[in-house]
Symmetry: none
Subunit: 201 residues, 4 copies
DNA sequence: TATGAATGAGCCTTCATTCAT
DNA sequence: GATGAATGAAGGCTCATTCAT
């Protein structure tokens, strides 16, 4: 009987195990040797499951993104107030629990790779994230407009808001920048302006 | 008599010549050998003018930033309308002339270095840019508030606006993203909301 | 099945092969490239077996010293006369067979490294050699004293004798100095003085 | 009127100034640039006065040796007891005043160079030192024999004694070895044996 | 004569990937 | 399937020496 190997599972396991290293050292300081050792697998075997080093981190990122997406969607759907929905959407940029910080780091490394030596695969992935989140954001805003809670021009801020998120992530990874609630304040201030019935003099 | 060499000039010349390579290949794919060859100089000579590879790109970045700052300040001071001042401030993220694109690329590489392997020097430099531009932005907003053209809460958007700029830069460097006027639209939309006397239903 | 490599053996083989080069060119004129080529191995492979260039020569030195120690101990134990025991101890400084000359060269390179740029590891190793050989020498002398063959003050010459050995090694490595029997003469003359019953006018 | 340069003097001055650096950093860590800067001279000028880096340290060593020789000779001639004469001869290996330590370091570096990459010039110089000092030592011993103070066989220890000196120097440069009076003890013990009228049971 | 800019070979080390077993 | 030894290009940096001015 041949040894049965659950290839997708093992692939996941390796990516899982590499995640900790990835967070700790960052992409460019990470070696295949370390990943292999950490996963309890031979260096050569890595290439049975992944095409390249980049492929590994891509798997990590994909894994993280997938689970994050689910959470976010769930959060949005289980929240009522528009403000809370939007904040939920930006949880990645705001949350300060361990899990949140971890995810931010992964995303930051992902961006770093895209900037340093962009591959089509990576850039496409980033592009899809942007589309997806911008669309979710637009859905929220559209819903608010339809229900009469938001001014019609609210939609014009969707793209910009997403991009703020990116900028915040970028800065949050650098030591000096602890403006974790910069984004919250901005969102809240903006909402005051685009909510109907709250435009005070 | 000693051979007279204008050291600062030569340093600048090398940095200048390295800039093209830097833009083309990015920091991590750039080698000292190439820089030297491109500058028509021996490898060893590079180290007469620069302390390290990082020092070279830092010089490039400093050079670019310095000249950019001057232009921006000049633009701001020679513009009347608040909107134009703000757009001038974000010229780096908006402009599509060759010079603008080049600068954006340089800035993007700079960010990339900061993300990949941040040195104190680099991060400090980034921090100072942030402070400087945020303050200029606040000055513009404050002036608008004082002159009765902007609502008081306008100031709350200063930090967020700067960060949008960063996010835009980040995305603009990736091939697929040609939303150059995303930022303009966002700014214009926001201004409509924070201007006094333009809040229409 | 994994390719089976006797790692310690290969390490030894490389060290062995490097020894010839080491003797021929000396530490500072030796390059890793040469060592690799000479061993029929890729440059990178060297670092699978050794941590650094210094590590390689240290292995060579250790190898030589280890085998030498065994021989010396054996010689001393299988010799009867005190004089012969002492001469056996200094075999490294005296012997003129190929093996002896080779060992002397290795030892000389070792000293050279210690003088030029001493690392803790190297100096400690030298220190241990000194302690070991001085102690063996003292044992021989003590035995002679106890058995009534040597005068009690003989022990006072142990340290000095060891150091003569060092000095001789040092000089023997330089081309002009062929006083290989300088040490033998000195030892013999000294023994005449410290032996009991042979102090004649 | 042509600028008159006292070339030999300037050569000496440069060597003098380089000595401190030489002591501090050792030959292999010393750069021509440093020497030039320290001497207040251009790098290129160094090569007007010296043929090579080695030539500079050779000058330093020659300078040191010359002044040392004078002192030693003077000491020997102004001392009466044989033991004191011999100790005076080995002052380089024994003295612990600043000057003595300095000289020992220079000599050690000299030996280090001879071991690492011996040039004819250096080795000849070392050979001459050996001859000179051994001869002085023999003179002292011969005088002692003639005056009936030393046994005839004393002469047999001349070569060995010189070599001990070398060995002591070599070790004294390494951190762990503080047996500064090893040599004194050895000499004194030996003298007791070779003096006439002091052979006790 | 003095200068110091320029040279460029050479150094040790790293690491993603391959492939024989 | 699994292994891990082997590869070898590439990289940043140093420094004694030369030579145009």
């Amino acid at each position: 009987m041949p040894k049965v190997v659950d290839k997708p599972k093992k692939r996941d396991d390796i990516a899982q195990s590499a995640t900790a290293l990835f967070l700790e050292k960052g992409y460019s300081n990470l070696t295949i040797s370390e990943i292999a050792k950490n996963a309890g697998v031979a260096k050569g075997s890595i290439y049975k499951y992944f095409e390249s080093k980049e492929d590994i981190v891509f798997a990590i990122i994909e894994q993280a993104q997938e689970s994050y997406d689910k959470e976010i969607l769930y959060s949005i759907q289980n929240t009522n107030k528009i403000e809370d929905k939007i904040l939920a959407l930006f949880d990645l940029c705001i949350s300060n629990c361990d899990e949140g910080i971890k995810r931010r780091k992964i995303y930051k490394e992902f961006i770093s790779i895209c900037l340093d030596d962009p591959s089509e695969k990576m850039v496409d992935f980033l592009y899809n994230i942007k589309e997806k989140y911008t669309n979710w954001l637009k859905d929220i805003l559209r819903e608010g407009i339809l229900s009469g809670k938001l001014k019609p021009q609210s939609l014009e801020f969707a793209n910009g808001l997403f991009v703020i998120g990116e900028g915040v992530l970028l800065f949050s990874s650098l030591d000096n920048y602890n403006d974790e609630n910069l984004l919250q304040l901005h969102i809240k201030s903006l909402l005051k302006l685009i909510k109907i019935g709250e435009n005070d003099e």
